[in-house]
């Protein structure tokens, strides 16, 4: 599909170093953080500005070529896997913070800006950007917008969509539109609202206006140790029911805890069944009392030990352990699949039990490290991609876990998106009518189905067959 002429035209727009077409170099783009399926694009382009993105998309429109946007490739549902999209548009070079307006608490950034850079830049002004995915050291704002990403601290403050005021979107025909704006609300239909979380199927977001929040006056970060996952889950349900909304409420089970301890030497009790990290923030005044209440709930659910971070250093160390837990998984297995489901927080004890059963039934090691407070589970299925049979068991077990989530009144994804991973499961929560309406919305933005095709909707998966030679489970 990619002709020499098209390559030349792309090079004319982007320069020689803005176009990657050598097979070896393309191989690094063959998956994102979801490594179960791989597919290599035919060409990757690296634009530096909205104008260049628009020029590339105009060219692709003229040639009728589908494309897929990519941020920094930390996605966990295969959202940027090129399926029937020979051209990949990588936004990593659009990495400038364009404007920081502390007085109005806004930042305007390009979409390749790394999440953590925003908070770093805002820090001298006492501000921060709230959504903090565990991959925030690497993941891009553009990817966050596409997937409507969450993170530990979104329990109290809301996910990405609550923190984006506007975006610059290049439509698949190359037209540049601005949705939302500098102010809190803009009249008319909430097109920004449907764009955030559209998984890169509406076009390419090149800039975003972000809300910044003042850093809380005080923090209280507790670590509660439990003998079992069941005890920890019951405590979570208890905390949620108590009416206190912690800034974050996270759980790590024994398997994860031990890997994290080996990596960071924090001093976790290695034999604990599970730990909860509970963070309260806000005005210093009320923190002590709320912490006391949390302590009571944990203790009444069998917490064997409760520690409080003594200072910022200890708090940072604790969060480092939580956020970089994924990085430590290499100590356990060569590959992992991080699942993403949601259940009502009160059903956590049940889903955790079922996950353990599924692990046993499929003979897989499954660890858990997740946002317990909003019932957003992340079972981590360990495997070795060189073992094909084991890899297939991982796919099957993952699907079964999600079915259980839905059966308990939950959902397929809390923050990772549908991507390619969960396409087949969409009918579990949506009727054909639901999906048809969604596809109509999509066609308003991308009538030719050229922008990140074959994602989200199961009807797309039928098309995938045709291109299946390039799509294969990782060997």
């Amino acid at each position: 599909m990619i002709t020499e002429r098209l390559l030349r035209a792309l090079r004319d727009i982007l320069g020689g170093d803005g176009v990657v077409s050598h097979a070896t170099e393309l191989s690094v783009y063959d998956c994102d953080g979801y490594t179960l399926e791989k597919s290599t694009p035919e060409v990757v382009v690296l634009p530096r500005s909205t104008e260049e993105v628009a020029a590339v998309l105009k060219l692709l429109k003229h040639e009728g070529v589908p494309f897929v946007p990519r941020g920094t490739g930390t996605g966990l549902s295969g959202g940027c896997l090129p399926l029937g999209a020979p051209v990949m548009v990588s936004l990593t070079r659009m990495n400038r913070i364009l404007e920081l307006d502390p007085a109005n608490r806004r930042a305007v950034v390009e979409s390749g800006v790394v999440n953590a850079w925003v908070s770093r830049a805002a820090k001298p002004h006492g501000l921060h950007y709230v959504p903090d995915p565990s991959s925030q050291m690497a993941c891009s704002i553009g990817g966050n917008v596409a997937e409507n990403s969450g993170g530990p601290h979104t329990l109290k403050y809301g996910v990405t969509t609550n923190h984006v005021l506007g975006v610059t979107l290049v439509l698949p025909d190359g037209e540049v539109v601005r949705l939302g704006g500098m102010t809190e609300d803009t009249p008319g239909y909430d097109l920004l609202g449907v764009t955030v979380g559209s998984e890169g199927t509406f076009g390419i977001v090149t800039e975003a206006i972000l809300k910044l929040y003042p850093r809380p006056q005080g923090y209280k970060t507790l670590l509660a140790v439990f003998d079992s996952v069941a005890g920890g889950s019951a405590a979570v349900a208890g905390i949620v029911a108590s009416g206190i909304v912690p800034a974050a409420l996270e759980m790590l089970d024994r398997l994860i805890l031990q890997a994290v301890e080996d990596a960071f030497h924090f001093g976790f009790p290695r034999e604990a069944g599970a730990v909860l990290i509970v963070e309260l923030d806000g005005l210093e005044a009320g923190l002590e009392r709320a912490a006391g209440r949390i302590r009571e709930v944990c203790e009444s659910n069998g917490a064997t030990e409760i520690r409080v971070a003594r200072d910022d250093g200890e708090r940072d160390a604790l969060w480092k352990c939580r956020k970089r837990a994924f990085g430590a998984l290499g100590r356990l297995a060569p590959n992992f699949c991080c699942q993403d489901g949601v259940v009502p927080p009160t059903r956590l004890p049940e889903i955790m039990e079922r996950i353990a059963d599924i692990g046993e039934a499929y003979d897989l090691r499954i660890g858990n490290v997740f946002h317990a407070g909003d019932g957003n589970i992340h079972p981590i299925l360990l495997y070795d991609e060189r073992d094909r049979e084991q890899t297939e068991r991982v796919v099957a077990a993952g699907r079964e876990i999600l079915r259980e989530c839905v059966a308990l009144g939950g959902s397929l994804t809390g923050e990772h998106g549908i991507g390619v991973e969960k396409v087949a499961l969409m009918p579990l929560i949506f009727t054909p009518d639901d999906m048809s309406v969604m596809e109509q919305v999509r066609s308003v933005f991308d009538p030719e189905d050229r922008c990140n095709p074959n994602k989200i909707f199961p009807s797309a998966e039928q098309h995938v067959e045709v291109r299946s030679p390039r799509r294969q489970a990782a060997m």
Binding site: H22, T24, E25, S27, V260, D262, A263, F264, R324, A325, G327, A328, L329, G330, R331
Partner: protein, 382 residues
Amino acid sequence: MRSIDQGTIPLDDASVRHLDLCLGCRACETTCPSGVRYGTLIEGARHFIESRHRRSWPERVQRWLVNRTFPNPAVMRIFGWSVRCMTRFGVHRLARAGWVPAPLRRLLRYLPDPKAPFRSVRLPERTAPRGEVRHRVGLLAGCVMQSLFGTTHTNTVRLLTEYGCEVRAPEGAGCCGALLLHNGDRERGLELARRTIAAFDSPELDAVLTNAAGCGAAMREYGEHFKEDPALRPAAERVAAKVRDVAEFVHGLPDVEPRRRMNVKVAYHDACHLLNGQGVHAEPRRLLKDIPGVEWVDLHEAEVCCGSAGSYNLTEPELAGRLAARKARNVTATGAEILVTGNPGCILQIQAALRDQGSSIRVVHTADFLAEAYTNGKAARD
């Protein structure tokens, strides 16, 4: 690397190019929560490449020159001498004025000022401490250090002897093999390493010290390198276990304290192979901050590579230059008068970049600065 090993990616110019571009700074190791030892992997990959991939002629000549001249103290001495002659005749000024062809000019950028030329030194086999012998340490004279950074060696010895160290610098130790090992010339690198191990394997020595980061990092891995060699492995492990950076060792001495006030604004740059290769971070900083009068300024991105990276600035000048410029901008932004760092390559690289940006900030080796502040006598000056 796995893809190349398994044959899913060919060993061709494109794949080799990307592996060549790795600085080998090992920052990824410091940050990796899974504890992947990338330094060992890339060394293995480079050895694999050098033994199976046919490079272009210019590349082969360049690599041959780098791998044959640097690790050879005798050649480096001649090199140092000719550089001294050249600076005396003002070649560097011609170069900076643009009178020399580009490739040569790139090399000449690294030449020091005539006021502070390269000096070579022959360290005595044994230097007695002031007062009684409280510690016995080996000091790697090395290849580049003794022929170009003789003053730093003299100051290192002065610093150590001040605190009761008898310093042994065995002639036979030669080059430690680091540069060759890092560049994938494993056989020759190990040959050199064998000599270094033999020279330092003595129960009398409390520690084996280096003031070049890459050397220390490689020497700490001697045990690993000879793990398949039952005859040499015990000696290799013994020596490796004693390897320390000079600043790290001095910091650990019980009676060390500043003797002189230094009224100067100081920033510190982490050499990659000190920080990531040897885990030395806090010790030099503490020693510097303890000096009365020193105004400490934090260097933004202190831990990011300056692009020197062994011989990287010679083999990959384009990218090395970009890193150097970025480093120099960060250094200038601190407002420091002196930048201290613990590795000769970084000194040349950052000094050249600062000069290019018109800055007069001096880059000084940690040992030189410490010798000035922590001894009573007068430190050697360039």
